[in-house]
């Protein structure tokens, strides 16, 4: 077991500002955000619709490039990298779970899970995918295509896919947003179990207070600014 002081910083954000241009002029979505997320932490970003949560998530994951300030994943600054290099970095460090699952419709469940590991050139992709699908309880659905799976099942495949590349940081965008309560619970349970066992850092955007409450930290996004929630460390108030 590593000592407290040896814990690495997974994500470091300094003075992050993001402006997009639109027909009506420039629009600043994120304003001077500073943030540090340590390895193994789980962080929920909550906030009203349009407050900039998803933009922040996208920038943290290196899906887009910010206009000012700096973002570093494990000490690698994203700001100076081009799309080619950022993609490589994502492949190395990052996993994703989306609200609308985004499985590739032309690939079956097993192939979808194998995909990120294959992109990394992992020879054990198939074995890993089989294990993960076993873990999410879908070993009987390996050759089913996304359209043949229910929403909950699709999201379980997506979770298995997210862990297949053994990411250090997992980004989740409203992972239960498209699911009913019962399926949502299953997904949350799976997500946290896997997160725990794999030692992954989790950054999640959600509207679901119940879900947010399960995270180590909750950050509130409001008008482009980010604040630590006062309900900090108050895990699972409803339970």
């Amino acid at each position: 077991m590593e000592s407290q002081t040896a814990i690495e910083v997974a994500i470091e954000v300094k003075n992050l500002t993001h402006t997009v241009s639109s027909k009506t002029g420039d629009l600043t979505i994120l304003k001077g955000i500073d943030l540090e997320i340590k390895e193994g932490e789980s962080v929920a970003i909550v906030g009203a619709s349009g407050s900039g949560k998803s933009t922040l998530l996208g920038l943290l994951a290196g899906l887009d490039i910010n206009t000012e300030g700096d973002i570093a994943l494990y000490g690698h600054s994203l700001t100076t990298l081009n799309e080619e290099k950022r993609a490589l970095l994502r492949g190395q460090y990052v996993g994703f779970i989306f609200q609308s699952f985004h499985l590739l419709p032309s690939l079956d469940a097993l192939e979808n899970v194998m995909l990120p590991a294959e992109l990394k050139g992992d020879k054990m992709a198939r074995q890993k995918a089989l294990q993960l699908l076993e873990k999410v309880g879908l070993s009987h659905r390996l050759t089913h295509y996304p359209r043949q799976l229910s929403g909950g099942e699709q999201q379980r495949v997506a979770i298995a896919r997210a862990f297949a590349s053994e990411p250090k940081i997992l980004f989740a965008d409203e992972p239960t947003g498209n699911l009913d309560e019962e399926n949502g619970q299953v997904i949350i349970k799976l997500l946290f179990e896997l997160n725990q066992s794999e030692g992954t850092t989790l950054v999640m955007v959600t509207h679901d207070n119940h879900l947010a409450a399960q995270c180590d930290r909750q950050l509130v996004m409001s008008s482009g600014r980010l604040q630590e929630s006062t309900q900090n460390n108050c895990k699972d108030p409803l339970r």
Partner: protein
Amino acid sequence: MSFAWRFMRKEMRSSDVVTLLVALVISIGTVTAISLFIDRLRLSFEQESASLLAADRVVRSDQVIPPSWLQQAESLKLSVAERASFSTMIFAKNKLQLSQVSAVTNGYPLKGHFLVDSTLFGQGVKSNESPKPGFIWISSRLASLLGVTIGQTVEVGDKTLTVSKYLVLDPGASSSAFSISPRAIMNKADLAATNVIIPGSRVRYSLLVAGEANALSALQTWLAPKLTEGQRWITPKQRGERIGETINRAESFLLLAGTLAVVLSGVAMALASSRYVKRHLMQVAVLKTLGATPKALSRLFLLQLLFLFVIGALLGLAFGWIVQNMIAALLSSLVTTALPEPEFWKMWLGVATGLISLVTFCLPLMRRLIRISPLSVLQPSARVEQRSVILYLIGFAGMYGLMCLYTQGVMLPTVMMVAMAGIGLVVSLLGWVMFRFGRSVTSGATSGWQIGLAALYRRLVPNLFQLLVFTLIIMLGLVLVGIKTSLIADWQKQLPADAPNHYLFNVQANQIAPISQVARTLKITSSSWYPMVRGRITEVNGEQVSKLYPDDKPEPELFERAMNLTWADQVGEGNKVVAGDFSANGLSVEEKVAKEAGLKLGDKLTINIGGVFHTLPITSLRFVDWSSMRPNFYVIVPKSVLNDSPANYVSSYFVKPSQAQAFYQAMSQFPTVSILNVGDILRQIQSIIAQLSQAVQLVLVCILAAGGLVLLASVRSTLEERMEEGALLRVLGARGALVRQALIIEFACLGLFAGCIAAMGAEASLYGVQVYVFNAEPSWHPMLWLLGPSAGVLLITTVGVFASRTVLKVPPMHLLRGI
């Protein structure tokens, strides 16, 4: 890599990839078929051109070759042969047929060989010997027209000859393809006994020589000052160049027609790629979030395109091979020799076409796919939008490049592009008016009419494009049908019922009385007799024609070759003097040829008639109604000029079908007289047009398939939108039948409009052909107005409803699920 293959294998089944593949096959196949077929024609001519002249050099002449020329050639140790070619009647039992006969000396051909066979329509075996005296070789076509076989006899003029072989190829014949009169070869020793060559007959004499290059050039030097107008020294190169040019022109023309299929396939490819890109945008964004680099994605999609291209090219080449074989089979009876197999490497043009189409129509769209921001997984607004106008411009630039490649120049493609843009503009305008009108007469959404017509107007731009595509296709089809079925019939209908249908020529003065007697006995209507001599214009206002028109400058028709001249006291039937005085002691020239040659009243022409030169002024210009079917002449000379010249006579007869048998029977006592049956000639032209148009129809079918594909791809690109509309209508309480009705009406109206505009265009084109090519009165073609719209409605409704069939099945729940 393994992911790439797996991805590809799965994608191969999706409808846009299939559309892309089919489009590729059509475009590669069409171009391959055309270029291979042309290659076979070219190879066939090249094989012939080795023996193209049947000699090393030929002297061609309108008059008998002086014996001194032969002696000179022999003294130079050159091998020598002679040949005389002419049109004459060949009789067998009670059948007769105008034929192209060559009489050759022993030793002909000096170079190359005959192809002859002892079975009808055989492929032929080589023979270096010419027919022996007393024998004749006739083409299989002539044999079947006359109903004779080997061993039986035919009559050429007064001489009876025995058929000993079927002639497949004469190495010295001007061209073995597309000739109207069937051919025969006999020995020159029998020529005099036939009595068919009389003063004034149109005969082409050739002196063939072969041997050492030095001797040949010595002969050329010796002959050069002796050659007169109408005599030429011919090398094999000159012959080859002319034929090569004709084939090049045919190739350019066919390939340009094929371009339409290529352009349409390209558009179908672009539409299919666009839908493919739309479908994959989100997937690519997801792959990017998973760490796929743009380079890896480019490789993935390029690999996929390459794989698609290889499959498409293989299938397209196979398809093209089959189609070119079909074209060759359709034209086999027009081409007298069997076509050689095409060369494989000629397939490059088809492959290049496929590659250029794919690169210009698909790659720019694929780039859009690669460039999508991974952020769009979270925010759909972050997608990269590219302007489709620019994408299509890249595609059309590629097509323009292809056309330049096909025609080896920029002129024709530029003209064609401008013409297409013009037609596009007119059709768009007409279509806009029609769609607008359709929209304005209905409003609301309670009937299929209202919904269908509204849909046409709402998707205005894609619908106008469909309209243009189908208008063009249907119009081409209608023009083809019109030319094949009605043009000649229309022209015949316009002739007076008793218009002459037989020409009699090669008639000698002493035969006029007995032949007229035959006509009187059989109650056959005849026109007057015209004396006819051959003459050639050599000088205009004292300047030599050969200097006015050097080799590289095309000569007007009037100066091009020897022509038939006549004299007349008064203006003949169907002729009208438009300027000058007919009775003056000068020349009367037909106004159109005069205009072409830049001649006016008072210009002095020198005419060589049988070696005597006459210089006369033009004293009148005439309008000639060529459809009068009476003997007509470009130039009429004063009687005083023709009096001393050896002439034969020409006349035209109207022979009723019931009189024909008796007439032919009676005419067989004048075997040297040639009879030209206009009906036969027209039937031959009709059958040639029918066969050629069948070949063009094959290209049209390829164009049609590409057009259908465009419609299919276009409908599929709006499928999501249509499904949503369909579901919405159902949610709002519409019955399934209403949705179906609306779809049918939308496509049927599009077809109806396309058919009507196409009929208009076809009618205009046929008007042009009737008025300017046939010099006939224009007439309406009601059949086109029936055929065009009904073909349009049937075609577009079938394809359109098929492409959007899922809309009919979509449940109202679709909207709620938002799948």
